[in-house]
Assembly symmetry: C2
Homo-oligomer: 255 residues x 2
Amino acid sequence: MRDHMTPSAGAKSATTLKPAEPRPGGKPSGCAACAVRNLTVCAPLDGGELLAIGQLSTHLTLACGDPLFAEGDPAAHVFNVTEGTLKVFKLLPDGRRQVTGFLSTGDFLGLANGETYAYSAEAVTAARLCRFQRRKLDGFLAEHPEMERRLLHRASNELAEAQEQMLLLGRKTAKERIASFLLLLSRRAEQRGGTGDPVFLPMSRTDIADYLGLTTETVSRTFTRLKTEGVIQLLPNSLVRLARREALAEIAEAL
Amino acid sequence: MRDHMTPSAGAKSATTLKPAEPRPGGKPSGCAACAVRNLTVCAPLDGGELLAIGQLSTHLTLACGDPLFAEGDPAAHVFNVTEGTLKVFKLLPDGRRQVTGFLSTGDFLGLANGETYAYSAEAVTAARLCRFQRRKLDGFLAEHPEMERRLLHRASNELAEAQEQMLLLGRKTAKERIASFLLLLSRRAEQRGGTGDPVFLPMSRTDIADYLGLTTETVSRTFTRLKTEGVIQLLPNSLVRLARREALAEIAEAL
DNA sequence: CGCCCTCTTGAAATTGTTCAATAGAGGTGG
DNA sequence: CCACCTCTATTGAACAATTTCAAGAGGGCG
């Protein structure tokens, strides 16, 4: 069989995905049939609204590593992630990079106040997204304040997460950062109905390092240390078993 | 005269303010007469709406150092800063602290998705705020989507700032952090129509350190170094002259 | 006038980085 | 199907930036 999972992509995703399988029913964008709608900002919409927003959206498939947009690009679109994982990041001129977030199914991205994106986005695994033209979506939002409210709610959540991340970056040790990271991914997977205990880490050590403000070496060493202490187990296929979750939580929260 | 500026409070603010001077006209909350309205989320409101929101708001005066709320408190209110500077921060159980932002005139705070605040807020200088009951404001927002849009716009801005801060915390050197900080404060003061060149730093070295993910010692040393290099001048009353702004910008952006 | 607190400065210690080499895993092509 | 090649991850040792510990200076307030 040639259709294995690729190991780096791990338990769930291949390096590429078939481009946008047209649905049996044959609608251009079957938002009503969207399997992940209740995870997204589209959740509060009803039948007619789903039809309307379906007219505004197109689908998009990215292979592992594909850029979605770069900092400074005209911010023409916003996106919903429907499958896979992306990373968003900022760069300094000399190449230093800060990953500001990992996004997966249900996450929304691309909101920008200025004319251009303030950060870059790139696929970590093969991914699928819905794309909306910003102008058109703005129009839709003006008529659907409940969706705008939902967006505000999201933004507010993201803000809280960003503050948590600032605490991590400004004040936590390497070990605490790794522990926090593992628990974050675990919780998020669970929220999405996925498996939170063997946690799936689709991203490279470099991505993790750039997210946690460390180097790959430190990330690697810290994983090893946690493994040695029996707090985690490193399984094949980018899976991590949280052998002693309470211990991990104590480390993460500096209790 | 006993009515000096206190040195730590600097050029603009005393350690305390007279409690809420009632306006000449005598309205309970004269939002229509609010001098800083166009800096706030209330900007898009018209006469009738201002009257309505005025019914929902009360004023609040804080002395330098007063807490506004603490992480974990029931999130019953949201606030607009009308005068002075506040800091918002998160704590780890062992006392490590991360200041996630400094807020001043026109800034909005207190938005929380959960039942409780996810961070603490405290006055850096004497300050005045408008306070809204969250529930009441929610009702108002439901009827005033343009204000909700404005809030989303704000949140989106804050998110962009948070990402910038993550880049700073995760990837910049001490010198770059200080340079970025000075320029941030300078720009913000200018946006508010204040004086951006001798920048006013109302907060303590400890607050700056906790904002930049450094120690007070490193902050102090770095200021000294920038002074020695002729990039800045440290003036009395917590003022900093940006002697060579371009140089500072190059340092901040790692050009 | 003197105490207290914040800020500055100095020296030693530490965490995490940098540089360098080895190991592991997957994909490729013979 | 296996050997090879490449890329990523791991491990080790030296180094560096920042922190920690400690002391002194400056300034306001009582």
